[in-house]
């Protein structure tokens, strides 16, 4: 089972899967050969991706790609579904604290046009509803609600509004008149406290005025009531604290995984699998216990690879800090094809990787983490955290992938680049990655190669 780490095409994974079975691989119920998702779900993009060859990565992919089945299974089992929208890791912690409630992440549909190479038609549905390509590709979620073909319609939709991304709010607002009522909760734009104003420390070294924490706490209190109503029972602090502790288990595993991947001499896990794994911090693929098992498998594999000094990329790959998730998963492969590796990431939810304080009243703890969201404060806050991480990890370059149409992306990229440039002197690059970037691939490749050449050129000084 322990083949040397390398990346495989989808068709190569079929043979690898067969050999793993012969070697005694035991798979979960959602396991199986990866290529089946092309035929069963139309996830044709998989044919153009390169995958890590470990059994742990296979389990991660199967976990992700069977989310629809899992959600329908929850529904069939009588569990109630909570769609946590534009919520980067807060509401699911509350939902999973209640019996028979399951949170999931409808925003995750933004990868469907990529995975299905537009055969899903989700973006066309959004177009017809007036949410065109001047909006973030997460508008695919709108199509998924209308067609009902990618996830069961949840019993409760919870969406944050306020300081979060404007175009996401506009997309979610479009759901209401279509018959999908949304429970909105407000999150303020994080600001620095005025001199003398009571302030509270947030995870990640940030500080916010106490009044903003109080507002967020009140808002989360409203969410709590809505969840209690749906569950038909109260959500007590003990259950919420227990849920926070479980969420922290996921977050700690991801932090360890990231640190191992970013600091190993030879990268022990491809960028693509790390991106998929990080997303588990937000939604757990609607099964938090299984998410822990999946992450344990990945961690075990990565620890073993690091211990043996084996990686999926050469040790001299350019060490790149990547900012923002990509709508086209192929872009993660492209980075490595150009001779670079991940050495730090900020996929816009760094706060969801930090521990939720366990020594505070649970709602207070959740409010503090929610206010540490990098998207709801000044881009300079985010840039400062990125610089600190780049220094800690020894990153050699910054890469920002702009999400076309995303309202938060139009200015923050420049701000972050300028800040990183002035504070680290490292090369920076911003690219734009649409859901299917095939037509732009030569230009993207050229830019990434230039970044790698620049990094390598600077090393010899």
């Amino acid at each position: 089972m322990n083949a040397p780490p390398r990346k495989l095409r989808l068709d190569e994974w079929d043979a690898r899967h067969a050999s793993l079975l012969v070697a005694g691989l035991r798979e979960p119920t959602y396991g199986g050969v990866l290529s089946r998702h092309v035929g069963e779900r139309g996830d044709t993009r998989l044919r153009h991706l390169l995958f890590d060859n470990s059994a742990a990565a296979l389990r991660l992919w199967n976990f992700l790609l069977t989310e629809e089945d899992r959600l329908r299974g929850h529904r069939a089992a009588g569990r109630k579904l909570v769609g946590a929208m534009k919520d980067l890791g807060t509401v699911p912690v509350m939902a999973f604290a209640l019996p028979d409630l399951v949170a999931f992440y409808p925003d995750g549909a933004w990868w469907t046009p990529c995975l299905m190479e537009h055969s899903d038609g989700l973006l066309a549905v959004a177009d017809r509803l007036g949410i065109d390509d001047s909006f973030c590709p997460v508008r695919a979620m709108l199509g998924a609600f209308v067609t009902g073909s990618h996830f069961p319609i949840p019993e409760l939709l919870v969406c944050s509004a306020g300081a979060v991304c404007d175009d996401f709010s506009a997309i979610a607002q479009r759901l209401e008149p279509l018959g999908f009522p949304v429970f909105w909760w407000e999150i303020p734009r994080r600001r620095s406290p005025e001199p003398g104003e009571p302030a509270v420390s947030l995870p990640g070294g940030l500080v916010a005025p106490e009044c903003q924490i109080a507002l967020t706490r009140r808002e989360l209190g409203r969410v709590r009531l809505a969840l209690e109503e749906l569950a038909g029972c109260p959500l007590d602090d003990a259950a919420l604290s227990a849920s926070i502790r479980t969420a922290n288990l996921v977050r700690r595993r991801l932090r360890e995984l990231r640190d191992l991947v970013f600091t190993a001499i030879a990268s022990p896990l491809p960028a693509l699998e790390l991106l998929i794994a990080e997303m588990l911090a937000l939604h757990y693929c609607s099964d938090r216990d299984e998410a822990l098992v999946v992450l344990d498998g990945l961690l075990g594999e990565v620890r073993a690879r690091v211990a043996s000094g084996r990686g999926v990329l050469s040790a001299d790959a350019a060490r790149v800090f990547w900012v923002n998730p990509v709508a086209d998963l192929r872009a993660m492969n492209l980075l490595e094809e150009c001779g670079a590796r991940l050495c730090g990431t900020d996929f816009m939810f760094g706060h969801a990787l930090m521990d939720i304080p366990e020594d505070l009243p649970p709602l207070e703890a959740l409010a503090r983490v929610a206010l540490a969201d990098p998207m709801i404060g000044p881009a300079q806050d985010r840039a400062r955290l990125i610089c600190a991480e780049m220094r800690r990890l020894g990153s050699e370059a910054l890469l920002i992938s702009r999400i076309p149409g995303a309202s938060h992306c139009c200015r923050e990229g420049d701000i972050i680049r300028q800040f990183v440039r002035e504070n680290t002197g490292l090369p920076t690059l911003e690219i734009e990655v649409p859901p299917l970037s095939d037509a732009l691939m030569p230009a993207l490749r050229s830019r990434l190669l230039a970044l790698v050449e620049t990094v390598i050129g600077r090393r010899t000084l």
Binding site: Q418, P427, P442, A443, L449, A450, E453, T454, L461
Partner: protein, 254 residues
């Protein structure tokens, strides 16, 4: 040792033959880009070789957006690295390179050794590129090479509000209909391109600044850039060929 650099750009293919023993350019030339890039590049190379045999070319490096189609090259290197190498050779003290090419603009920051420290490129859109200038020239019915002499006649540059190549064309039609002089429109276009480049360059631009690429051949552009940047801008010698020269120089080292 003679090396060859091929810059397969979006508008033209450029070739430079470099003699490293004599430290001089043996020959150089350019042809318009076309569908059969590989054939065009090979024919240009053969023509420039003159009495030299192919076997006398020790190594060939291809650059430019079409570099991967030049399969007879020994290596492919991006335009950023090749322009930097070329400019560092012809203007060694340069700290910032502005390159206006056919389909993209680049700002390349060099250290005192001529090594690339950082770079910027426009993405996706043709605004401010050589292609943009071509669109303007076509719409005004002026050969590209005559834009510069036209600019010199301008007395009151017309502000151009749209930097999208498509919308700007529409805007120019409107300006012509409003009786604006072509000279003033061209001057306005050059100023708009320069402001865009200036914005891309950002703060703390290190001098000396060297202007290269096909866009540098358009008279008046360097002056417009200088005005927008607020710093002296000097033209690279043979600006069309700096990428190919850099490729030929880098071919010595691979």
């Amino acid at each position: 040792m003679i090396t060859a650099g091929i810059d397969a750009g979006s508008r033209t293919i450029k070739v430079v033959l470099w003699d490293s023993d004599k430290s001089e350019v043996v020959n150089s030339g350019a042809v318009d880009q076309g569908v059969e890039q590989r054939r065009l590049a090979r024919e240009l190379l053969e023509r420039l070789l003159g009495g030299l045999g192919r076997s006398q070319i020790a190594r060939t490096v291809a650059t430019g957006y079409g570099r991967n189609l030049i399969d007879f090259a020994d290596a492919q290197i991006t335009e950023i690295t090749c322009h930097a190498a070329g400019v560092a050779h012809v203007a060694p003290s340069t700290r910032t390179i502005i390159e206006i090419g056919g389909q993209d603009n680049k700002i390349i920051r060099l250290d005192e050794m001529g090594t690339v420290r950082d770079f910027d490129m426009n993405d996706r859109c043709a605004a401010g590129t050589g292609r943009f200038l071509e669109v303007v020239a076509t719409r005004l019915g002026v050969p590209l090479g005559e834009l510069g002499s036209l600019v010199r006649q301008s007395r009151c540059p017309t502000p151009i509000s749209s930097m999208c190549a498509v919308f700007a064309e529409t805007e120019i039609v409107g300006l012509l209909a409003a009786g604006r002089l072509p000279a003033d429109i061209v001057a306005g276009v050059q100023a708009a391109i320069s402001l865009r480049v200036s914005a891309m360059a950002g703060r703390n631009l290190a001098c000396p600044i060297c202007f290269t690429g096909g866009g540098a051949l358009v008279p008046g552009m360097a002056e417009a850039l200088q005005a927008a940047l607020g710093h002296p801008v000097r033209l690279a010698p043979e600006p069309l060929f700096t990428g190919a020269l850099g490729a030929a120089l880098l071919a010595q080292r691979i």
